[in-house]
Structure formats: C-alpha cells, structure tokens
C-alpha cells in the first residue's frame, strides 16, 4: 500500500523520512528504477551532447552589455518590438483559437471530413520557403495573383498589399496563421480524442451538447493542453523569421521587421552574430515568464478522471 502511494507521488521533493536510497529512487523498486533510468538516459545524453553547450554558448554570445546599447540605438528597434508583440499576440491567439474550434469541427464523422482534413493539412506540409514566396508574389500590387483575381471578379484594382506597413504586417500574420493552424488543430484534435468516449457519451445523455457541452466538459479537459500549446507556440514564434523574410522582406522600408529577422539581419548581413543573438535575447524578459509558467504547468500532476 505504501508502495503504490509512493508511486503515485508526484516527485515533488517530499519530506520523506526514509532510507537515502528510497528517497533517491522515489519509491520505485530496484528493477523498475533501473528501467526508469534507462528510459530517461537517451534523451539526457542527447541533451548533454547537443543542447547544453550550444545554449550556453548562445547565452554567452548575447551577454555583452555594449551589444544592447548598440541594439537600442538602431532606429528600427522600437518599431520592431511593436511588430513582434503584435505578431505574437495576434499570430498565436487567433491561430490557437481557430485550431480549437476547427478541432471540434473535424471530430465529425464521414469520409469527406477526412478528405477535408487532408486538404487542410497541405499548407503545413508544403515547404514554407515555397509557400511564403508564393504568397509574396501573390500580393504584388501590379502583377500578383490576388489582384488579378480581384480585377477579374470585381473589376477593381486591389491595393499594393506590401507597400504599407500595416497591410504588410497583416499579410505576414495571416500567412503564419495559414501555415500553422493545421498543425495545432491536429494536436488539439488528438487532445479531444483523448477524452474517453464514456465521458463524451454521458455528457450527451445528460443533454450537455453543443456550446454547453464544449464549455462545461470539453474545454476544461483541453484547457491544460491548450495553454501549453499557446506557450510553446509563442516561444517558437519568437524565433520564426521565415514568414517575415519571405512574405514582406521586412519592408517596406524596414517597417515590418520582428526581433527574429532583425537578429538574422544583424547576424548574417552586418556579419555581427553576437548582435543578432542580442536582438533575440532582448525578448528574454518576455520569454522567461512564459517558460516559468510552462514549468509550473508541467510540475503539477493530476490524473483528471
């Protein structure tokens, strides 16, 4: 009895008066403990060999104070920060919200749903260099596909989408949402699948369907996953430079840069990699709280059912 109780223990360093070996193993018995260690070693090895050094080196690269002075003196730094915040706020939240709704939509049965899901997944599957460049050309004011269609359908000349800071930034955000919503939809769909059939059935029997079912049953069960996905997506997006680079090029006139692309420009065009790392690290004050919340989320363990 005490054994199973200790197995259920979270791993939070509980105050345990026992033998040293027992507190080290967390209550797992001999053979099992070896197995547990063996299961964890591969990833720890990968981490030690391939993550520890680069991350420490990367942190070192961005650690000089003068870099930040130079960074803040860059005339486009402020607008870049604004862009980054908008990009993150809209890109992540609209995308995750759509993913949440669509994951419910795709739960419907039917072969056409599966076919639709396949089409829906295409934006994510096709290499982003090509799709984003395609979008860049599509949005060309004079000769792009989008304006050609507008002219054919409505006989109006569409605007030059990439000539204005806000429409260009909008285009970048929409491109990002276009590419990544399918992925997060799949993840949330998997999350919905994890909700045991019994719960879904009993909810339906109790009359909790539709919106009510979603609010009271589904969403609370998905909430943790949703939050983790949102946080991870924010961290990923911070380093994503592809959408801006290929869709708007950071233009017009450097007005749609985000921290990641500013960092890339500093690292590879001005040939100052340390300045580039500093650009991304200047977002650390925003990233650290997210990481801490993520850590907390991962520590609390409950079996919900």
């Amino acid at each position: 009895m005490t054994d199973s109780a200790s197995v259920v223990d979270v791993g939070r360093p509980a105050v345990r008066r026992g033998t040293l070996s027992r507190s080290l193993r967390g209550g797992l018995k001999g053979g099992e403990y070896t197995w547990a260690v063996a299961f964890v070693v591969p990833y720890v090895a990968v981490f030690a060999a391939f993550v520890a050094y680069p991350v420490v080196y990367g942190l070192w690269m961005g650690s000089e104070a003068s870099l930040y002075r130079e960074l803040f003196a860059d005339p486009i730094y402020q607008s870049t920060v604004v862009n980054t915040i908008l990009y993150l706020a809209l890109g992540v939240n609209v995308k995750m919200f759509l993913a949440l709704l669509l994951s419910g939509f795709f739960m419907r049965p039917g072969w056409w749903m599966k076919a639709l899901l396949l089409i829906f997944v295409l934006p994510w599957a096709v290499p982003q260099i090509s799709t984003f460049i395609s979008i860049h050309w599509m949005l060309n004011g004079e000769w792009g596909f989008l304006n050609n269609v507008l002219y054919a359908l409505f006989h109006t000349e569409g605007p030059s989408w990439l000539n204005d800071r806000w429409t260009a930034l909008g285009a970048v955000i929409v491109s990002h949402i276009w590419k990544w919503t399918p992925f997060w939809t799949l993840i949330l769909l998997a999350g919905r699948m994890a909700i045991p059939v019994e719960i879904r059935d009993s909810a339906r029997v109790d009359g909790a369907t539709g919106v009510r079912g979603f609010v009271h049953i589904t969403f609370p069960l998905l909430a943790n996953l949703y939050l983790i996905c949102t946080l991870l997506s924010t961290i990923f997006l911070l380093g994503d430079f592809n959408a801006v680079t290929f869709v708007s090029g950071g233009g017009p006139a450097n007005s749609t840069h985000v921290l990641a692309t500013l960092g890339i420009r500093d690292a590879f065009e001005i040939a100052n990699p340390r300045l580039g790392v500093a650009a991304v690290m200047s977002a650390l004050p925003m990233v650290i709280p997210l990481v801490i919340i993520l850590m907390r989320k991962l520590r609390t363990a409950e079996v919900q059912l």
Binding site: V40, G58, L118, I119, S130, W137, W178, A190, V303
Partner: protein, 301 residues
C-alpha cells in the same frame, strides 16, 4: 376529457414544432458545414494554387495577369523527375537523404520522447521534473541562432558533412516538445491502467509497449508528423551541416533557387510540390490512428 384532449393537442403541436425546429437546426448545421468546408478549401489552397500556376508557366514568370494557366507546360515537373535541370541534378539522391533524415528524426524523437515521458509521467521517477524543465531550456534561444555553435560542435565530434549531425540536432529540438505533448496527453490515461498491469506482473518495458504506446496512438501520430515535417522542411541546419552535393537534402537544393538574380521559378515550385507529397501521403496512411478513439478496455475510471 376536454383538458386531456387539449393537452394532447398542445403536446402534439409542440412536438411537431420541436421536430421542425430540430430539422431546421440540422439543415442549418449542414449548410454551415458546407460553407465552412468550402471556405477551408479555398483558404488552404489559394497560395498553393498560385504555386501550381507558376510551376506550369513555361517561362517561370511569376508576374502575369492571368489566373488560369494559359499555356501550361509540365516541363518543370518532368525536369524534377528526370533530374533534367542543373539545380536538380542530384534530386533523387537528395530526396533519399531527406527521407532518411526524416525517418530517423521521427523515430528517435518519438522513441526518446515517449520513453522519457513514460518514465517521468507514468513511472514517476524522482526528480523527473528536472529533466522536463531542463528540456525547456532548448527553446530559450531560437534554433536559428544556435546554428553557429552547433556547426562548431559537430565539427568537434567529427560529424561534419554527416546526416547524423542533422539528425542529432533535430532530435534535440523535437524531443522536448514531444515530451510535453505526451505528458499532457498521458494525463487523461488513468494511472490505474498501469497499476493493474503491474499487479498482473508486467515489467516496465511491457507496460510501455503493450499499454502506453497503443493508448498514446493519436498523440504519437500528431507528434510524429510534426517531427517528420520539421526534418522534412528544415533548412538552416541541413544547409550548414551538410556540404557536399551527395549529402545535401531537398530543402537545401530548394534554397539554391534563391540566387538573387534570374531563377527558374517553375522548377522551384514543381520541386516543392513534388517534395510535399510524401509527408502528406504518410499522414494519410496513418490517419486512422489519428482518429482512433480511445477504448478503455476493461478498466473503469
């Protein structure tokens, strides 16, 4: 008697109204489904349609004024398949490299990710949270900026120009994410399932293989496709770590087309379209795993 008749008539009317209300709701819901489906199709396909348009352009012109292919030419697709263009000389070799790297990254990310999340989340190894938190450190600095130190350590390890260097780097990036999703997903599988198996005398590997993995199937498919696509479309590390034409992968080959002047865009788009096919096909093959509902077997929650 009259009251009973009145009540009966009232209830039948309300029943009829409810029936038509239900029918209306179903009709609206079906119509809504159709509208939403069409929207999704158009939304997803427009930029890809533009790519197809360009791939069929004989001159590779990207600036035209027509919205249907005017003089479609499949020369670009043929060029990819027959390696007929100079940039595509080694296309199939590079394609094989991409397949190899993609398969290895997927396999190891899933393997390490599920093993670790099993040990931390199910077996509840002591201080397991240390590992998952440390894994988070991987993401503190975006991957594109870690490229330079990676380049250096791969040289130090003697893995220059070796696909395993890319595999190692991508596994290092994909696994933490896999761990998190598996942990989260695994929460909805009651620990009693493991417990009863233990009581029945199953060893950890057996629990892992027979109980944990099957129940995790949807998450495995989702994360597996993520890892595959990450490796499939990742460009920067493959470019930096692989130098020779024979070890290169298709994304690197795609980047060749970005030479700043004239470029045969129709070939580039054709390459991208052909290159996108395998992950989509693989996802399609596994879609049933994706939608397999969880059955709890004989265990009651």
């Amino acid at each position: 008697m009259s009251t009973i008749t009145v009540e009966a008539r009232l209830s039948s009317r309300t029943r009829a109204r409810t029936r038509s209300a239900v029918r209306l709701r179903r009709y609206l819901s079906n119509a809504g489904t159709v509208v939403l489906s069409l929207t999704l199709v158009v939304w997803s396909l427009v930029p890809i349609y533009n790519m197809v348009l360009i791939s069929l352009e004989p001159e590779g012109d990207v600036f035209t004024d027509h919205i249907w292919p005017r003089a479609p030419s499949v020369e670009s697709f043929w060029g990819v398949l027959t390696q007929g263009h100079w940039y595509l000389e080694h296309f199939w070799r590079q394609f094989a490299n991409s397949l190899f790297i993609g398969a290895m990254v997927t396999f190891f990310a899933l393997l390490f990710g599920s093993l670790t999340s099993f040990a931390i989340g199910r077996m509840r190894i002591r201080h397991g949270w240390l590992v998952s938190n440390a894994a988070l450190l991987t993401y503190v600095i975006p991957a594109s900026f870690l490229a330079i130190p990676f380049y250096r350590i791969m040289q130090n390890y003697g893995l220059a120009d070796n696909p395993w260097s890319v595999i190692a780097a991508l596994v290092a990036f994909a696994t933490p994410y896999a761990i998190f999703v598996f942990q989260e997903y695994g929460r909805s599988i009651p620990i009693e399932v493991d417990e009863s198996a233990r009581i029945d005398g199953a060893s950890p590997p057996q629990i892992y293989l027979r109980i944990y993995l099957p129940l995790m199937a949807p998450a495995l498919v989702a994360v597996g496709t993520y890892a595959l696509l990450l490796a499939w479309n990742e460009y920067l590390y493959q470019f930096l770590l692989l130098s020779s034409k024979s070890s290169m992968t298709v994304p690197v080959a795609l980047a060749q087309f970005l030479s700043s002047d004239q470029s045969p865009w129709n070939f580039m788009m054709a390459t991208a379209i052909i290159y996108a096919a395998p992950p989509v096909a693989i996802y399609y093959a596994f879609r049933r795993r994706m939608t397999a509902g969880l059955t709890m077997g004989g265990v009651k929650g």
